[in-house]
Symmetry: C2
Subunit: 160 residues, 2 copies
């Protein structure tokens, strides 16, 4: 059970206000803020259509901005407040960034009701590769593995 | 069953060669190329550590570059050749970009064997929200939904 305090509500209001401002700018109805040590370090709003970038969801943009601000690829100790429950892409980004807590406003069903249906992606992830709508085919693994072997033997690599 | 032809092998070789070049530049051992109408329109290599961007996986970078090149957020009709099976974040990005086919070299198990374990994200996605390691909490849905209602009633919005 996560405790919710006044500052959590305040940060969520910030995210929701940003989502409202974003639709006035021609963006999608989504925004997020990232908080560390009680302070907002970055924000992001959906800019898929404005930036011609299908990966520019609110959470992804906020994570990229937070990493730029802190000069790191590791957001351990940070919390994200997002105006809508993350899609699988954003959930993956949250995990790779090591964000520990997520507060969200609208949920997946709310998003589906206004035409943003990411449930099909959740469904596809659960299907065996050969049953997915997008065709996945393994090719030349005996060549691809060579890069992995070299990486594995490198001594001065930056791991993450 | 997906037919594999000579050009598929050629594009995969390109992706694998890029992955090899990328580790020499200090990046992770991953790269991808995106093809439309038989031609490479963009490439991308993992730049998480070099760019301090946890979302900068090979596939995400390639999608961003392809969208920039074609000035669109919709990559329908494109195929991605990636040196490693996509993680959940990249799989989500591929679906949002409407890429229809994926060829991959190394698989998830190969990636885990050299220290890149995205299986924990796949596992977490399948868990109910309250059982995940990252804490997900819904907050102020009655406020968040207001932006969605305004979006839903807008007549001049760009849908995607």
């Amino acid at each position: 059970m996560v405790m919710i305090d006044f500052s959590d509500r305040k940060f969520m209001v910030d995210a929701i206000q940003l989502s409202m401002e974003n639709i006035k700018k021609g963006g999608g109805p989504f925004a997020a803020v990232i908080v560390k040590d009680g302070k907002i370090i970055a924000a992001g709003a959906n800019s898929v259509t404005n930036d011609n970038d299908p990966t520019a969801h609110a959470e992804v943009n906020a994570i990229r901005n937070a990493c730029r601000a802190l000069k790191t690829f590791d957001l351990s100790g940070c919390t994200i407040y997002t105006s809508c429950e993350p899609c699988p892409m954003c959930l993956g980004a949250i995990y790779w960034a090591h964000i520990g807590k997520v507060f969200y406003g609208n949920n997946k069903a709310d998003a589906r009701n206004i035409g943003f249906d990411d449930s099909f992606i959740y469904d596809e992830i659960d299907l065996p590769i050969h049953q997915r709508k997008v065709k996945f085919t393994q090719l030349m693994p005996e060549e691809a593995i060579k890069t992995f072997r070299i990486w594995d033997n490198m001594e001065d690599k930056v791991e993450y």
